[in-house]
Amino acid sequence: MTFLKALLLGDAQADRVVPPTGFTAQLTLFVSGAMAFLCVFALALSMASGRVADRWADELARAATLRINAPAAQKAAQTEAALKILQQTPGVASARALTAEEQAALLSPWFGSGLPVDSLPIPQLIEVIEDEAGYDATGLRLRLQAEVPGAVLDDHARWRRPLVDAALALRRLSVVSILLIGGAMAAMITLAANAALSANAQVIEVLRLVGAQDSYIAQAFVRRFTLRALAGGGAGMALGMIGVLLMPAASDEGGFLTGLGFQGVGWLLPLLIPLLGGAVAFVATTRAANKKLGELA
């Protein structure tokens, strides 16, 4: 706590002994700001893709669709037969035939509203919800094949798994991006700190000659770079959050491309980014300062 207080409040006298260095100050501020900005988007993407993966997994895992492809005259009978089979099948929690309006709504994104479903040879869809135990898909298919020739069971596994895998891969990619952003920021700040230390080699020599301990000299640089990273990170985070706020809100029409923002307490997570940036700068500058002071000794 004392250390944190000393780092944040500092010592006005000690801060003045190291001359201000414009280039490294600007570089650190810019890098921290840019990295924080990118980090906000990577974090938003990570959280959104996580949500999508969870939703797809939850919503689709227990649902299946039974399609009745039959001539109009047989469609009602086959639908009734299929529903009967489904009611008798262990593991099926519920099954219901979609109404003509529901089927028209499914097609409306392609054909528009007011579609005369009755006059079109559209198969009848049955929504199947399985229970906790689940049903035997192979057995159900065999029975349907024998008793309802026009029935085709689609348990969504064929397209659900790649979608969930893609969403999870996107989340992993976002996490890797955040780690890379942190690493790149550490590298850039290390370079800036090294440049500042090299540029101030004579100042360091004078400070040593008048009795300054290396920890005192290092702290002067570390504090400066940490505060710059915090300030740059704060600005970058604020801009990033404004950018995320301006993204379109989640909607059914937009699908995956909307709703990339944060939700609920998720909005608090970006607040950690400047703090983590400051921590990265602190560690990077401490290591650079100790190494450089060792070389200059």
């Binding site: 006298q13 000690a14 003045r16 002994v17 001359p19 201000p20 100042v203 020599e205 004078v206 400070l207 040593r208 000659l209 008048v210 009795g211 300054a212 301990q213 290396d214 920890s215 005192y216 002071l293 000794a297």
Partner: protein, 229 residues
């Protein structure tokens, strides 16, 4: 003369592939006043740097305050330097600080609050005659002002030993006498003084003010240059 504060024992130092100093031995007793003289390039500055630990000898041993300087870690070296005030030939100021801040630098780096030392600082500025220049930046100062400021910075922590490297090298006769008087005053206060100079007139002028010994570096060796002044 009190116990030795700095001792150089059979010291050797190589530089640029050659031997600059060889078998050098001296003892600086507490409260003593020594001049170190010799031609340019003889190794006066090197010898001073060896005394305050800025250089490591190639052979032999340096002891300061009964500690082997070679065995000190970086923190211990920092503490040693607070006990040895150094006046560099080129003064070594930080140009972005004011004169007052430069003089107070040893206080700052040792963690002392300048506000608490304001009275001492003003007294010191007055002693070296720089009260009216305390807000000036080093590049704005004359050679004499810089040397006096460097002396003030060297003594602000009241060190036991003051080492001055050509303190009168860039100043006129009048200013060199003023600086000499300040050094003599410090010696009368019990400080050990070691002054490197090639200015023999300065040494002669010190004759009536202080009992000093003159050491001369010649041909890599250190010799006592005649009787005490």
């Amino acid at each position: 003369m009190g116990p030795n504060v700095i001792e150089l024992d059979n010291l050797g130092y190589n530089y640029g592939g050659g031997e600059l100093l060889s078998d050098v031995s001296i003892q600086l007793g507490s409260g003593s006043f020594h001049f170190l003289t010799g031609p340019s390039g003889a190794g006066k500055t090197t010898l001073l740097k060896l005394c305050y630990g800025a250089l490591t000898p190639t052979s032999g041993r340096v002891r300061a305050f009964n500690m082997d300087v070679r065995g000190l870690d970086r923190d211990q070296m920092a503490h040693l330097r607070r006990r040895i005030g150094v006046v560099h030939q080129d003064c070594r100021f930080l140009d972005h600080l004011t004169l007052k801040e430069n003089i107070a630098l040893p206080l700052t780096v040792s963690g002392r609050d300048i506000a608490d030392e304001e009275a001492n600082l003003r007294e010191l500025l007055s002693w070296v005659g720089l009260t009216d220049r305390m807000d000036a930046r080093p590049p704005e100062l004359s050679g004499g002002e810089r040397q006096r400021a460097a002396l003030a910075r060297a003594v602000i922590l009241s060190p036991d030993v003051i080492i001055a490297d050509e303190p009168t090298g860039n100043v006129d006769w009048e200013m060199s006498q003023r600086l000499l008087r300040l050094l003599v005053e410090l010696n009368h206060m019990g400080k050990t003084i070691l002054v490197a100079t090639h200015d023999l007139s300065l040494i002669r002028a010190a004759k009536n003010q202080v009992q000093a010994r003159v050491l001369r570096i010649s041909s890599r060796q250190l010799q006592l240059a005649g009787a005490d002044l």
